[in-house]
């Protein structure tokens, strides 16, 4: 079967050898890169959701100064290319941290690419997540919040038991979009030299000159990630939308 395929498609055999998992092939490197990408994306998404929740609550309930500062944060981050933010935050972050350590009398440290990547992409994600969550929280009917207050729930309990579950189905489409952006933005870390999927692919392609094989294989890996997570978010949405009459975004 395989021999027959190789005879009708001459390039296939060399592609399969190039992509095999053991050292003459580069498949293992690609998968390691994909795992790195996935870890960064997960970390950045988590940091982004955390910043986004705080940002949304600050924009809705904070004082005038907090609101203006948050507006500056979301506007700037959403208007300046991620690539520049990554470079700025990477250098500035390392610098500031080391100056701080110097003040404490510690030795300067080298920030790992992984931590820097998660931090920087998390700050970028946070700006978008702030807007998504703010919109979702705003569209929870006021009557429900007033009812919660009337039952004697405090603000934390109201958020945990009423606002959060009611806004989740409204926020999920936006968050799912953000997750897809997170997986794709990890590719930008290739430019600062972090060995995630895109950089591994380029190295493999560059040293074997088999550009199409490797870039298409990496594309397939990214597509697999996005399609699977699309399924997962679809499932989450139907699950959390159960029993919510008005929740149709």
């Amino acid at each position: 079967m395989l021999d027959w395929l190789y005879s009708v498609w001459p390039g296939l055999e060399s592609s399969v050898t190039l992509l095999s998992l053991e050292p003459p092939g580069w498949g293992g490197n690609l998968l390691r890169g994909a795992a790195n990408s996935l870890i960064i994306a997960l970390g950045a998404f988590a940091v982004g959701c955390f910043i986004g929740t705080l940002g949304a609550l600050g924009k809705l309930g904070g004082g005038p100064v907090t609101r203006d500062l948050l507006a500056v944060y979301t506007t700037v981050v959403r208007a300046v290319p991620e690539l520049i933010l990554i470079l700025l935050l990477y250098y500035a972050g390392t610098d500031l941290l080391n100056q701080f350590l110097q003040l404490l009398g510690q030795r300067p440290i080298e920030i790992s690419g992984l931590a820097a990547g998660i931090g920087v992409l998390g700050i970028v994600q946070g700006a978008y997540a702030t807007e998504v969550l703010r919109g979702a929280i705003q569209s929870v009917p006021r009557g429900q919040l007033e009812a919660a207050r009337a039952y004697g729930m405090g603000p934390v309990q109201t958020f945990r038991r009423v606002t959060f579950p009611a806004m989740l189905p409204l926020a999920l489409p936006g968050l799912s979009n953000l997750w897809l952006i997170a997986t794709k933005d990890t590719a930008l870390l290739a430019i600062v030299g972090f060995s995630e999927l895109t950089l591994e692919t380029r190295q493999a392609a560059g040293s074997t000159r088999a550009y199409f094989t490797f870039f298409l294989a990496a594309g397939a890996l990214y597509l697999l990630m996005t399609l699977l997570s699309g399924r997962l978010f679809g499932w989450l949405e139907t699950r959390f939308r159960r029993g919510q009459a008005g929740a149709r975004a």
Partner: protein, 257 residues
């Protein structure tokens, strides 16, 4: 309206921002600017026309892609949907590198391409950058236009047909204007995203404004200043795009329910 914006705390915030800017202007190194001004202007120009051309080409591809998905027969809708999924499911950087290194290594193998009139262009990097950016915009906007075409009430199209308008006239005078008006807010956001995607072309040796700033950093070892100036430039362009789309929205959503 104007008085609302100048609340006391805003005056304070603006004063702080101005203070930071003056401090940055006085203490940071800006002496490299005159030397790189001309190169910077060329880079800015290249960024702008790459953006404009890719928007134009991408959007003219997005219209048929959206229409095929919204109303086309299966054999048109399925490939269009696949194209949009492929583009939206993979990073743009990967697409740019696939097109530049992949096609770029494929073309020289064919003598008839090397002898063709197009070869002087195909040896440069920008056609590949333009192609990648256009395809990407087409993929994202194809999806936006699908939703926009679908959101126009079907009764209006039927009414127009009943008035005796030809199918093309219905499309041109009823369907397309309303779909565009509905898509405009999303398109504005997507256009800013496209602007933010342009610096990726610097990775395939196109000297845009981002590449100029990188060169300043390499030549002079000044790290922050070029990046900050670059961020300011992108902020201004993004602001202009947002203003332009707000004007378009005001103009084209008149009389829309």
């Amino acid at each position: 309206m104007r008085r609302d914006r100048l609340q006391p705390h805003r005056v304070g915030l603006i004063a702080v921002a101005l203070g930071v800017m003056v401090w940055a202007g006085l203490t940071m190194r800006w002496d490299w600017i005159p030397r790189y001004a001309e190169l910077g202007a060329q880079g800015l120009w290249r960024t702008l026309w790459l953006l404009a051309l890719s928007l134009l080409i991408g959007f003219s591809m997005a219209l048929p892609l959206g229409l095929a998905q919204a109303a086309g027969p299966f054999w048109l809708a399925a490939p269009a949907r696949w194209f949009c999924t492929l583009i939206r499911g993979t990073p743009l950087l990967l697409q740019i590198w696939l097109i530049y290194y992949g096609l770029g290594s494929l073309f020289p193998q064919y003598p008839w391409i090397r002898q063709s009139e197009l070869w002087p262009y195909l040896r440069q990097a920008w056609p590949y950058a333009l192609l990648a950016l256009s395809l990407s915009y087409a993929g994202y906007e194809g999806e936006v236009m699908r939703g926009a075409f679908k959101s126009v009430p079907h009764g209006q199209l039927e009414a127009a047909r009943a008035y005796g308008l030809s199918r093309f006239a219905v499309f041109r005078r009823i369907w397309l204007p309303q779909a565009l008006a509905r898509a405009l807010p999303t398109l504005g956001g997507e256009t800013v995203l496209q602007l933010k995607a342009t610096p990726l072309v610097a990775t395939i040796t196109v000297i845009d404004i981002y590449a100029v700033a990188s060169r300043v950093r390499q030549d002079t070892f000044v790290i922050y200043e070029p990046l900050l100036l670059l961020a300011l430039i992108y902020l201004i362009i993004a602001g202009l795009i947002a203003l332009g789309f707000r004007w378009l929205e005001r103009r084209f959503t008149r009389g829309l329910a």
